[in-house]
């Protein structure tokens, strides 16, 4: 028995391939959209994975440090280190700011951390880790910085000494790691004009600048420029200790809010990017439905375009089963071609996106099965139409 589908395809090879290609691009767009969604969720989690902290201690009753501002004293870690089960504690400070690079302003998330403590970049692509206590930076490659570049934050120049990759804030901004003390200073440092004006304002205040008490003004000015706050304290636990229990202890006795890694993931994914993720998720669903509909229509119209041929086949006594098999095989073939073209296209253009696009193998598998099911269902419609064709149409028309 000859393969009718093969014959038919070979007959209209060009149009068949082009249809597959078009279908593939559509599937590619859908896959990319799924990748954008996955990438967004992954962006939210990537920092958590990188810092590898078991507990995040933040200001009481806040969702800090990303979803809400949080500020805790920078000597809190001493009290936390004394708790049973805590292996490491690290202060961190996060601030989002614009830095300029080659005259172009760029939005980055600056992360201050202490060397050798939780909070730093997990791996490097080039350069070396921060070794000085001040004015060195490790940048994500997406910032466009190179090792040896000078980046200005507030009033100090930082030397980029290392590069890392996939270190982004939950909003997808690339990160810039600097020593904690610099980050603390940068967070609260005003520009020079503001400082000078503030000094004059204070000096003009008779309550603070009394004759005969020259020390008061200096003290007030000093207290305004110093900062002993950080945004969160990260804890790593000794093996075998329960993070949940320790977080509860900290919340109860230290009067700070403590999140385990799961809590933090929940905050970042379910709270911080919830609306944006839902937006993209809904769009993805619509796109998938529309794609499925288009695939179905294409296959249906393709079949309808062959009415005459099918009528001839019927006329010469071809069995319905053979005709149905031909249509099903052609539809599935289109699906397979479309899927692979789509996957190819999505993989090809995914790295070009400004934000991370995560193409998961699981998603691809699901998309493949879904494509085949949609093709099969669409071919059912087409088969129904084909079987209804009157063989007489072969002669007429």
């Amino acid at each position: 028995m000859i393969n009718l589908a093969g014959r038919d395809i070979a007959h209209h090879l060009k149009s068949y391939l082009l249809t597959g290609l078009g279908l593939g691009l559509l599937i590619g767009v859908t896959l990319t959209m799924a990748g954008v969604y996955r990438g967004m969720v992954d962006d939210a989690k990537v920092l958590l994975r990188a810092v590898d902290a078991d507990i995040w201690v933040v200001q009481q009753n806040t969702l800090g440090p990303f979803a809400e501002p949080s500020s805790v004293p920078d000597d809190l870690y001493r009290a936390l280190l004394g708790l049973a089960g805590v292996a490491q504690a690290g202060n961190v400070a996060y601030l989002t700011m614009q830095v300029s690079h080659h005259g172009q302003s760029q939005r980055v998330m600056v992360a201050g951390y202490e060397q050798g403590k939780p909070g730093g970049p997990a791996f490097l692509m080039a350069g070396r880790p921060i070794s000085r206590a001040h004015y060195e930076a490790v940048a994500d490659v997406k910032t466009g910085f190179q090792v040896g570049d000078i980046v200005r934050i507030r009033r100090n120049d930082y030397t980029v000494i290392g590069l890392t990759r996939r270190m982004v804030s939950s909003g997808g901004d690339p990160m810039l790691f600097i020593p904690l003390k610099d980050a603390q200073a940068a967070q609260f440092l005003k520009d020079n004009d503001a400082i000078v004006e503030d000094r004059q304002r204070l000096a003009a205040n008779p309550a603070l600048n009394r004759p005969g008490q020259s020390g008061v003004l200096d003290a007030v000015q000093a207290i305004q420029t110093s900062s002993h706050k950080v945004n969160a304290v990260l804890l790593r636990l000794q093996p075998g200790f329960d993070a949940r229990a320790l977080a509860d202890t900290i919340a109860r006795w230290q009067r700070f809010t403590a999140y385990t890694r799961d809590d933090m993931e929940e905050i970042l994914v379910a709270k911080l990017i919830a609306t944006a993720a839902k937006q993209i998720g809904l769009f993805l669903v619509i796109l998938a439905v529309v794609s499925a509909a288009i695939v179905a229509f294409i296959i249906y119209t393709m079949t309808l375009g062959k009415i005459k041929e099918i009528a001839v086949l019927k006329l010469i006594g071809t069995r319905d089963r053979t005709i149905a098999a031909m249509i099903l095989q052609e539809a599935l073939g289109l699906g397979v071609i479309g899927f692979f073209v789509g996957k190819f296209a999505a993989t090809l253009w995914a790295p070009a996106f400004p934000k991370y696009v995560l193409l998961e193998t699981g998603d691809a598998g699901r998309a493949f099965i879904l494509t085949l099911i949609v093709c099969a269902l669409a071919s059912l419609l087409a088969i129904r139409a084909a079987l209804k064709i009157d063989p007489a149409e072969a002669i007429g028309g």
């Binding site: 090879l13 692509m125 080039a126 070396r128 070794s131 190179q146 290392g162 990759r165 190819f344 193998t361």
Partner: protein
């Protein structure tokens, strides 16, 4: 089968080649860019190197000793002779306070001294008179006693003379005491005068050192309180950088170690320096140790309060096993390195020793010539597939 079906038409050939090319491209894409691609890593060899670690801190240029010159009691500033930046010698008059009524008080004290001298003279004269009286009374008393012994007169008369003599002696003693008191009064009045002179001297603000004026904080006419600085001086030859060094890294610092000082005004120039003092009292809030580094030799011109970066050179090690610091990783609270074993990542715990900015000494866990992963394009995990490639810039 008919032989005709085996004939390969050019079209089928093109089709087959196209399909093959597509599949090849697809597989290539999946394995190089897609999720199945191995993680690109850069690999280096463990080598023996010289390590020159340094400890880094920042501080400001400060004077070793700073002098605040001001009055010892509240008063109004009369004149200020020097301005900021002026070089002054030790003992030079810098400023003067308004003496107000001090001159008059001095004159009054001088009159008091003169009066005391006059009073003393008068007292001295009184002593002379009392002496004369006493002598006369003694002589009379002696004569009467003789007459009593010869029974010319009654004893009662002699007793009366005797009493007169005793009274005269007592009056003499009183006169002498009063004369001594008058002398003391001279001393008191003179001391008062001297005191006023000294107060007048203290109104002159003199330079305690050969140095430079760094601040002129009050102008003539200003009323300043006791202890408030009018002028600030430093010794320009004794300037140093008071640097703050993270306690976590301050262990090896010792007095005498060489250091490089980079001033903010000259970022590219490292000035030689030396650790001169490590303060016993650290900053407990910022967790930093305070280390003073002197310039060696001192540059011609320095500006106080300028930010300076200090790198204190630590004793290094020659020819020790080391890896780039970027190669070190922490997994499950263990420090170690990643290695590529048969295309898979493996974690290997190591013990590290000295660390310089670039490299880290390997105390144990690795041998010379072994290869370790230094850079990776992704966070590594055990058994992750890796492939050596040049990461560099993407």
């Amino acid at each position: 089968m008919k032989p005709g079906t085996l004939k390969i038409s050019p079209r089928t050939l093109t089709l087959a080649l196209g399909a093959l090319a597509f599949i090849a491209a697809f597989v290539w894409l999946l394995t190089t860019r897609g999720p199945l691609a191995p993680v690109g890593v850069e690999i280096v060899t463990v080598t023996q190197e010289d390590l020159d670690p340094g400890v880094y801190g920042i501080g400001t240029v400060e004077a070793r000793h700073a002098y605040a010159v001001g009055p010892i009691q509240a008063g109004r500033l009369l004149r200020v002779q020097v301005d900021q930046g002026d070089r002054v010698r030790a003992g030079q008059l810098l400023a003067e306070m308004d003496p107000v009524d001090l001159r008059q008080r001095g004159e009054a004290a001088a009159s008091a001294v003169a009066r005391a001298r006059q009073t003393a003279l008068a007292a001295q004269a009184q002593v002379a008179e009392a002496e004369s009286r006493a002598r006369l009374a003694e002589a009379n008393s002696a004569r009467y006693q003789m007459l009593v012994n010869q029974k010319f007169i009654a004893q009662e008369m002699a007793d009366s003379r005797h009493h007169e003599a005793a009274a005269a002696n007592a009056a003499l003693a009183a006169a002498r005491a009063s004369a001594a008191g008058a002398q003391r009064d001279i001393g008191r009045a003179e001391a008062e005068l001297q005191g006023i002179d000294q107060v007048r001297d203290s109104l002159k603000l003199l330079s305690p050192i050969d140095g430079v004026v760094t601040a002129r904080e009050a102008e003539p006419g200003t009323t300043v309180v006791a202890g408030q600085a009018v002028l600030r001086l430093v010794d320009p030859a004794a300037l140093w950088v008071r640097a703050r060094v993270d306690q976590a890294r301050a262990r090896g610092i010792a007095v005498g170690q060489a250091a490089d000082i980079v001033l903010r005004s000259a970022p590219g120039v490292a000035l030689p320096g030396k650790v001169a003092r490590i303060e016993l009292q650290s900053d407990a809030v910022t967790e930093e140790r305070l280390v003073s580094v002197v310039f060696d030799p001192a540059p011609a011109q320095l500006y106080l309060g300028e930010l300076a970066e200090v790198t204190i050179r630590q004793p290094g090690a020659r020819g020790v096993l080391s890896v780039p610091r970027a190669a070190l990783a922490r997994v499950n609270s263990q420090t170690g390195v990643w290695q590529a074993v048969n295309g898979r990542a493996r974690f290997r715990p190591v013990r590290i020793g000295l660390q310089s900015a670039e490299r880290s000494q390997i105390v144990s866990g690795l041998d010379a010539g072994e290869k370790v992963i230094v850079y990776s394009a992704k966070q590594l995990d055990d058994d992750m597939r890796v492939r050596e490639e040049q990461l560099g810039q993407p």
